[in-house]
Amino acid sequence: MAKKSFRQAINEALAQEMRRDPRVILMGEDVAGGQGAPGEDDAWGGPLGVTKGLMPEFGRERILDTPITESGFIGAAIGAAATGLRPVAELMFVDFMGVCFDQIFNQAAKFRYMFGGKAVTPVVIRTMFGAGFRAASQHSQCLYPIFTHIPGLKVAIPSSAYEAKGLLIQAIRDDDPVIFFEHKMLYDDTDDVPDEPYTIPFGEANLTREGGDVTIVALGRMVKVANEAADALARQRVACTVIDPRTTSPMDFDTILESVEETGRLVVVDEAHPRCNMAADISARVAQDAFKALKAPIRMVTPPHVPVPFSPALEDAYIPSAARVIEAVRAVTA
């Protein structure tokens, strides 16, 4: 099977869905920009070139450049979805999402409910998140807990190239609004990715490691960190299961609870700010439903409750590391 990068996997998912379904369109800043520059037929394909190559194939009718006005084009995408298209909007950094909360929270998320199931809003909002990019506190957050909080939205967080393609195709075919989180630090990671289109169902966790001593739950880039910790711990005869929920809404609590019933120990790794994040959410659910199985207190590995620092040294210290995951596993197995 061909090795493809996370970036290529997303590009391929978009291209294949646009070929399959003429209702799929792309909107975003610079997705069409740059075209026509000297010696350049293609567009830039967004700030990190994820959609490069789509412009020459699908043209300006379906690849729409937008002004730097998130509140405008996210609203337009939601409106287009409500009236029959299947737009994929690219909102550069999730940190900018605040200016379009009404369109997302009060409009897109509510249509199906408020119109008695007669309206669907098949919009996908792709957005970059996460620290490590030296992009400072306004471009580095992990705001998925905020979207997970809202009924009516679905939230997907791929952790590898294989996951990215399957989850994005599922998102495009889904009739509900999906916020699709792409970690900036994963774009060059490669994985075996089938050439054919495929889908990964929402609400089904993936197990990337299996072991009977401790359950580690992690999302996005933290899945890599958790795997690294689990491999190091395996060499010290501590066997960990690593669970990647893949989507936080819907959330596969069953797989987590089942695993905790088996291991009795839970470590949740979350790159989002520690208050009201997924680690808190998952921990609360396990404390409520699997309390009797727990042999040790649950440990949450998160950044501190501060904005993402701009200083590289501080930013590196801010992001949860494999060493901190190992320390947490040590604490619950002590």
Binding site: Y162, E196, P197, Y198, P201, E204, E210, D231, T255
Partner: protein
């Protein structure tokens, strides 16, 4: 070459591993190491793990450097006692590296390829010599050519061996317009034509067995022998809970529980196996293909095509190999075939559960038919 020199090669962890990256040496050159000592940290696409020394002695040379990615079997280091001179050691390392480089250049490990047959694309994997009547391996419902991974390399010692993916399966095209046994046999025939195979031995497992029997009936002169492994086509009964369960399973838990019925020992069902099956089933078109085939070959909850009354007059020789504890198709169906081997303590995947024995039976049967 002196026996005092013990090479250490890149290990093969799991079926998918073709290469590994040397992350770190955990011992120094000159150290005395004992079999089982942790000597290297190796990273694969699936896992990072320590490699335990397969030999005991003094580590005289670290051949692989940290950060280097090397194929399975590549020389990583050399253990030798003091009687071996440095010059001998260097010569050994040089020779081994050169031989491995030449072997790699000459015979790259076989990879499945896509071949355009009439009306479909067939993924197939060829191993073994050019000469000889080829053996064609046909997998069962929901399987693919990799289900023969413990058989094909062994069998390819004697003759060319081609494993293929049926339509709707593995990496072959997913469009299934017919789906019954006769249609599947016609597709395999077109694949063999595209692959330039005139006459062939066939080995078919489960549904692949019925396909092989149909091919033997359709063109008896082109089929040299038929080895059936837990085949359909020899009786009506079929475990429809399994078929339905396999089609319905879209989660790890269900899939694992379903495919455990294939084996006597559920430990054969690894996380990788379940993951690979789910990845296959998520490809566009697969569910429709599986449903179309199941509806055609297991219509009304039983096997639609039974060949027992035609076995006596069938021209190619036929043998059957069955796992006595098969929970998908009862091993009692083996009674229909005079040349039969029912292996105790094995299930529907007897070719995976007991590969050495199954390989010997298939190889001997094909060799006898060639004489």
């Amino acid at each position: 070459m002196s026996d005092a020199i013990k090479p250490i090669g890149m290990p093969k962890w799991g079926l998918a591993m073709t290469e590994g990256k040397v992350n770190a040496w955990l011992v120094e050159e000159g150290a005395t190491i004992t079999e089982g000592d942790e000597i290297l940290e190796i990273e694969t696409s699936k896992i990072t793990n320590v490699f335990e020394s397969p030999v005991t002695g003094t580590l005289r040379r670290k051949v692989a450097s940290e950060g280097e990615t090397l194929p399975v079997g590549a020389l990583l280091g050399v253990v030798a006692d003091a009687s071996v001179s440095d010059a001998e050691l260097d010569a050994f390392v040089e020779q081994t590296r050169q031989a491995q480089a030449e072997a790699a250049a000459e015979a790259p490990p076989p990879e499945p390829v896509l071949t355009e047959a009439e009306g479909w694309t067939v993924r197939n994997l060829r191993m073994g010599p050019e000469e000889g009547v080829p053996l064609v391996l046909i997998h069962g419902f929901g399987g693919d050519l990799l289900s023969w991974q413990f058989n094909q390399p062994d069998l390819a010692a004697d003759r060319p061996v081609v494993a293929l993916d049926l339509p709707g399966h593995g990496g072959s095209s997913k469009s299934v317009t017919g789906g019954d046994v006769a249609w599947l046999a016609a597709q395999v025939r077109s694949a063999l034509a595209a692959l330039g195979i005139g006459r062939a031995h066939l080995a078919g497992q489960s549904l692949g067995g019925a396909v092989a029997l149909q091919m033997a009936l359709d063109e008896p002169d082109r089929i040299a022998s038929v080895s059936l492994v837990c085949p359909s086509g020899l009786g009506r009964e079929i475990n429809m809970d399994y078929i339905g369960g396999f089609i319905a399973a879209d989660r790890r838990r269900e899939m694992k529980a379903t495919v455990e019925a294939l084996f006597v020992d559920p430990a054969f069902v690894s996380r990788d196996m379940v993951d690979d099956l789910l990845k296959y089933k998520r490809l566009d078109g697969v569910l429709a293909a599986l449903r179309t085939i199941a509806d055609a070959v297991f219509a009304g909850g039983q096997q639609a095509q039974v060949f027992t009354d035609r076995l006596a007059t069938m021209k190619p020789p036929v043998q059957v190999i069955w796992g006595e504890a098969d929970r998908i198709i009862p091993a009692a169906h083996a009674q229909a075939v005079p040349t039969r081997h029912v292996l105790p303590g094995t299930g529907h995947m007897v070719h995976i559960e007991r590969p050495a024995e199954v390989n010997r039976l298939i190889a001997e049967f094909a060799a006898a038919a060639d004489r």
